[in-house]
């Protein structure tokens, strides 16, 4: 099983995973590196590094705002991947998954894309608008290049769950907006059934994401899945400090950020 989740040997456990998401270049490339380190400190097992995109149709308003800020800094797919070695140099050890919409990859070309991942030491890739049916070629290439191609599965994936889960690499991203958003403190039976079904078919850890924003949510997910993915909430913690970053109070702000993340996943 670990062979399928190795992330080039950098992922050492398959349970209780904490997988945070940040957007490259939000609010600056330098801070992105800092956030990555603080998240590692707070216990992150894998970093999802988001590429800002003009038309992020799978994302809510928080991540759209982050993308907009990052695009103002002219962040691109190439530049984002090139941040990875800088992170490494600064001390990042956990595997990095590049989260990007399909079009920037398409414009770069698969060859150049994988070359970049390889050169810069990014271990995984996740493309939210490239479903199983459209991803055969890239999955094959990823496998050849030893890059983890992360798949998503949704409660309405239905009979596709088995297909997707059986082909999963790295970890399996369960989209679960139905159960854990908002104020609820327990998962609906439907979601539990869904996660259970995914786990049945999956040979990689099953992580749950979308809408996880409190420590209660986190612990609820931990009970049933192998990992928790946190995106918008992390971005909002960054947004909370935007003014502080502007005012040059970087060290304090990063400290507060780190503390908030620790609270979230304690």
């Amino acid at each position: 099983m670990l062979t399928k989740t190795s992330f080039k040997g950098k992922l050492t456990k398959t349970e209780d995973l904490f997988i945070p998401f940040i957007v490259a270049g939000d609010p600056t490339p330098e801070l992105t590196i800092e956030f990555a380190l603080r998240l590692q400190e707070a216990g992150a097992d894998v970093l999802e590094l988001g590429i800002p995109y003009s038309d992020p149709l799978a994302d809510g308003p928080t991540i759209q705002r982050a993308a907009k800020r990052a695009l103002k800094n002219e962040m691109s797919l190439t530049k984002a991947i090139e941040l990875v070695p800088e992170m490494r140099q600064a001390g990042l050890e956990i595997p990095v998954v590049i989260f990007t919409y399909y079009n920037p990859v398409l414009q770069l070309g698969y060859d150049r894309f994988f070359e970049l991942l390889d050169e810069n030491g990014a271990e995984g890739v996740l493309i939210p608008d490239l479903p199983f049916e459209e991803s055969e070629e890239i999955r094959k290439l990823a496998s050849e290049r030893d890059v983890e191609f992360i798949s998503l599965v949704a409660p309405n994936s239905d009979k596709r769950i088995k297909q997707i889960a059986e082909h999963a690499n790295g970890f399996l991203y369960c989209v679960s907006t139905l159960g854990v958003t908002g104020e609820r403190n327990e998962m609906s039976a439907d979601v539990l059934t869904f996660i259970k079904k995914v786990k049945e078919h999956s040979s990689v850890p099953v992580a749950v994401g979308f809408g996880i924003s409190t420590n209660e949510h986190v612990n609820l997910v931990r009970e049933h899945a192998d990992g928790v993915i946190i995106g918008s909430k992390i971005i909002r913690l960054i947004e909370d400090e935007i003014e502080a970053f502007k005012d040059g109070e970087e060290a304090d702000a990063l400290e507060r950020f780190n503390k908030s993340v620790r609270e979230l996943v304690k």
Binding site: L57, E133, A154
Partner: protein, 388 residues
């Protein structure tokens, strides 16, 4: 789900199920004579089809070249070809037991069409519209509300059609169980481009029959404007196997040499937009860029994937027309024929007029007049009064 290299379903996993369900139901419906009968009955008894084929005698004489015919989609209920597709999809939504439809809109024409069919078929309707467009198209917003639709302002991006479409897709992702997404053009993930084409092909089917009745042979050339491209696909599709030359006309805005245009095929390159692999306008990093056209209906950075295919295979010739050329053609048709076309349609007219003068009087051309210009009066007033 492909037209040659183009098309596909580039969507979040959550939409794969609904798209599959849609495709299955669509296939069943299109094989069901009762469904097709109802669709055609509604077109006839509600939407006013068949629309006229008008011989533009004065225009023909004025240009002194090919004989010019107009397919009069402006005569449809609500004033444009959009109605054909809205009716088809609304009937399909009803058949699928969906009680709610959602739609995106730019200038508001498709929003009005969606709100109209929602009222007619007893469906709830929510229309996503950019905040900027809401400001610019106050009357259409009011019209949609009067029809009972909810208009949801979209503030992301630049607050225009592209953003409204993104937001509609996001809302659909979260609410796909009981919502039917009524897309307004031959764009989006499979099976939308095919479905919309099949609900619009009535334009070409009727035209073919009407043209044969009056001319006893098919037109030498057929013109249609292309934004997303539904009126063009509807017109062209039934002629794909025929000898008629087909010409799609994009918006060159302030000129294709400037950055302000919407000439997707002329100046764009392949990529993914709104769930479909097609041509689009983008920068070197694959970020989609904002298009520009005086015509709200052509002001879209992508194009239907079937057009991308017809472009690649060269079955259709694509040209582009500037704002100014379109407005000149609009004025000329208005004065010569007493028909004020939509600025969208005026792009097709402009290209056709350019070519008609070079053709001989025994040749014939057919132009798809996709909609009426009433919606454009404010734009036209501003333009022509500035000119004075």
């Amino acid at each position: 789900g492909r037209f040659g290299d183009f098309g596909g379903k580039y969507v979040p996993e959550t939409l794969m199920g609904p798209l599959q369900e849609l495709e299955e139901e669509l296939n069943k419906a299109m094989d069901d004579p009762d469904f097709l009968q109802e669709y055609h009955d509604v077109l006839k008894e509600y939407a006013g089809r068949p629309t006229s084929l008008s011989f533009a005698d004065k225009m023909t004489e004025h240009l002194g070249g090919a004989k010019i015919y107009l397919k009069r989609e402006d005569l449809n209920h609500t004033g444009a070809h959009k109605m054909n597709n809205a009716i088809g999809q609304a009937l399909l939504a009803k058949r699928m037991g969906k009680k709610r439809i959602l739609a995106e809109t730019g200038a508001g024409q498709h929003g009005v069409a969606a709100a109209t069919v929602a009222a007619k078929f007893g469906l709830e309707c929510q229309v996503f519209m950019g905040e900027e467009d809401i400001r610019r198209q106050e009357l259409n917003v009011f019209r949609m509300k009067l029809l009972g639709a909810k208009v949801t302002p979209v503030s992301s991006g630049n607050g225009t059609l592209k953003d409204a479409t993104n937001e509609a897709i996001r809302y659909w992702v979260a609410n796909c169980e009981d919502h039917f997404y009524l897309i307004g053009s031959v764009v989006g993930p499979h099976p939308y481009p095919k479905m919309v084409r099949d609900f619009q092909r009535v334009i070409g089917d009727e035209s073919k029959q009407q043209f044969l009745e009056v001319e006893a042979e098919l037109p030498d050339r057929i013109y249609a404007c292309v934004g997303g491209g539904s009126n063009a696909m509807g017109m062209f599709y039934p002629f794909l196997e025929d000898a008629s030359e087909l010409i799609g006309v994009e918006a060159a805005g302030k000129g294709i040499e400037t950055s302000e245009h919407a000439a997707t095929l002329t100046k764009g390159n392949p990529g993914v937009i709104h769930g479909s692999l097609t041509y689009l306008m983008q920068d070197k990093n694959g970020q989609i860029t904002e298009p520009y056209s005086i015509s709200a209906g052509l002001d879209y950075p992508g194009i239907g994937p079937e057009h991308a295919h017809l472009f690649q295979t060269k079955r259709v010739r694509y040209e582009s027309i500037t704002d100014k050329e379109a407005l000149d053609a609009l004025k000329l048709l208005t004065e010569q024929e007493g028909i004020i076309p939509a600025i969208e349609s005026a792009h097709a007219l402009a290209q056709a007029f350019k070519e008609a003068v070079e053709m001989s009087s025994d040749q014939t051309i057919l132009i798809n007049l996709s909609g009426r210009g009433d919606k454009d009066m404010a734009t036209l007033m501003q333009h022509f009064q500035e000119e004075e």
